[in-house]
Amino acid sequence: MHDVYQFVSGPLAWVAFLLFIGGSLYRIIAMLAEVKEKEPFIFTYMSLKYSLRSILHWITPFATYNWRRNPVLTVVTFVFHICLFACPIFLLAHVTLWDEAWDIRWWTLPDAVADVMTVIVIACCLFFLIRRVTQREVKFVTYPSDYVILGIVAAPFLTGFLAYHQWFTYPVFMILHVLAGEVMLAAIPFTRLSHMLFSPFTRAYMGSEFGVIRKSKDY
């Protein structure tokens, strides 16, 4: 058991981070290179002011027309994404790992808070799942891959929660947790989770088009 843990938290972790960082850079650079080659006119219209106007509106809850029209989803998605980032980054146990391995450390969340955030992420995933099954307009455009993606995101939180509370065999869930986290990281550049990488660009472009050419709001 110990060997397995050593393996998933050692070499596999390297692989996961390499895939995540390398893959992300590759996806972004490949995209920009293709724009430069085939659609360079896009760069002509990019405007910092309108890019920021668009991005800032969309990352602020209720700052856009459509966020205001969907209050429940807005709250869920913002809470979800905030917890999704904050929880793993500021978890004491994770920061300790960084500290031990690289001698770097930063601010951490109290464990009880991180625990609640974990539950929130899982609950939000459930919300997305239910929405996907019950809302006709979501169901119509749902593919099996959408459930897989949702599973990939929920898994590290679910296993982390179980490992932390040691309700079942701790070492098994610890290993599963590390694995699930690695799968999620590695999946970001190569699945629709890449919306994390591309959304700033698509937003900036649409913001620029609306600001520079159409002189109206894209939010």
């Binding site: 995209m31 085939k38 856009t64 459509n66 169901k139 455009v141 649409m206 109206s216």
Partner: protein, 450 residues
């Protein structure tokens, strides 16, 4: 037991299976191999990172759905939602690597040409700013290259190609119409001229071809306004006078480029300072946003001024003396292509308030307005799709009805397509409202020689 009324209605719609030679004959010539070649050619060589990123980034959340009047008017049936329509067209092409059967192309044409107005409202709703109108226009481009485009709109594209105008207006028909309107107008305005080919004029005034063809009085009115405001203007005597562009909507980018070039070059030949265009939305999109870019101009090479903007200028400078403001309460339709696409919402309101006593706002308005369901070439696909078009904009009818209960009697629609589209909607839903252009109202209320 199902509700009989609904069932009958559904049956009726199914009975009305559209016969459209442009599609039927086109499809009969297709094979899966040919379809595969064309789709992959367009997807690989004509599109790039933009299309790929839009497709890969879409998280399938459905948040764009309620932007669309088709979706809202069909009891939120997801097959009409923006992302639902992309799913049935572009995603399907990518998933099947281009190998679609000819009958599957029929559905693609129907969606791309008659179930989306390219009104870009959904672009404002998607959290990622995914350009669904662009994706649907790529589907149209593919249909164009496959030779399946609804017949009526294809005919207008042919007309553009042959005569450089949308309505097969023949060489001498154009100056004759202008001369005729000039003569008529001189009865009312003795010194009025429609100056042809006046080099160095401040303004070239361009119109869409339906004006000389069916609505010559609009040219009369424009001339009357120019005369009254003392504008130094001109119109070209030959090709290049038509600013409309149905090729843009059939995906025939090459012809779009040709007609836009002719329009711009005519203005350059006449050495005018600006082009002022009549009250048309799609023409504005073509001249200001789409056509110029296809030709490689990041911005129009000559300033483009839409009629709303022009009237705003004239009214602001008090250049049109008004006898008495328009009495009947009006409501203002915001045409997507000049409002969401050109930012003229406040100027449009300035003009409306300068001309009319009472302006009743519809909701939602300004850049959030619902499209009229005629734009994007949908009305130009002709009578076979008229019923679908009016039924697909129940929400607009409700919006208008609501404005009417608050007193609005007249709809002002500064766009030709919207004008015709709203007229069909008002007739189908028995709305009993009048529809006018700004030009109609200005002409009616301005001071004229005794």
């Amino acid at each position: 037991m199902a509700e009989p009324a609904v069932t009958q209605d559904q049956e009726k719609e199914e009975e009305q299976k559209v016969v459209d030679d442009g599609i039927d004959v086109g499809i009969s010539r297709l094979t899966t191999d040919k379809i595969e070649t064309v789709i992959n050619q367009v997807l690989k060589t004509e599109t790039g990172a933009r299309l790929k990123t839009y497709v890969n980034t879409c998280i399938h959340c459905g948040l764009c759905s309620e932007a669309c009047h088709y979706y809202m008017s069909h009891d939120k049936d997801p097959k009409w939602s923006p992302v639902g329509k992309v799913k049935q067209t572009i995603w399907e092409m990518i998933r099947k690597k281009g190998r679609l059967a000819p009958e599957e192309i029929r559905r693609v044409v129907e969606i791309a040409h008659t179930e989306c107005n390219l009104c870009r409202r959904c672009l404002q709703f998607c959290p990622f700013g995914i350009d669904i109108a662009y994706l649907i226009s790529m589907a149209r481009r593919i249909c164009h290259k496959l030779g399946v485009t609804p017949k009526y709109i294809q005919d207008t594209a042919h007309s553009h190609s042959v005569s450089m105008n949308q309505m097969w207006v023949k060489g001498d028909e154009w100056p004759d119409t202008l001369q005729w309107q000039e003569e008529e107008a001189r009865g009312e305005f003795p010194t009025l001229r429609i100056p042809l080919e006046k080099e160095g004029a401040d303004i070239m005034y361009s119109v869409i071809a339906p004006e000389p063809k069916f609505q010559a009085q609009l040219i009369y009115q424009a001339a009357a306004i120019m005369e009254t405001a003392g504008v130094n203007w001109t119109m070209p005597a030959d090709k290049g006078w038509d600013n409309s562009d149905m090729a843009m909507f059939t995906g025939d980018n090459e012809i779009m480029g040709r007609i836009k070039r002719s329009h711009f070059e005519t203005a350059v030949r006449l050495r005018v300072k600006r082009i002022v265009m009549g009250e048309c939305g799609h023409a504005f999109r073509s001249v200001y946003d789409t056509g110029n870019r296809w030709l490689g101009w990041s911005h129009p090479p000559i300033p483009i001024v839409h009629a709303i903007d022009f009237y705003y200028e004239l009214l602001k400078e008090n250049r049109i003396p008004i006898k008495e403001k328009f009495k009947e309460p009006v409501t203002l339709h915001d045409p997507c292509n000049v409002i969401r696409g050109g930012g003229l919402m406040e100027k449009s309101r300035y003009v409306a308030h300068a001309l009319c006593d009472t302006v009743v706002e519809m909701h939602p308005n300004r850049e959030y307005n619902y499209c009229c369901c005629a734009g994007g070439g949908v009305i130009n696909c002709g009578p076979p799709y008229k019923l679908k078009r009016v039924k697909s904009n129940k929400v607009k009818a409700e919006q208008l009805m609501e404005a009417r209960t608050r007193g609005a009697k007249v709809i002002i629609s500064p766009c030709h397509n919207c004008h015709s589209g709203l007229k069909d909607i008002k007739n189908y839903y028995d709305l009993h409202m009048d529809i006018k252009f700004f030009g109609d109202i200005i002409y009616q209320i301005m001071e004229k020689p005794e």
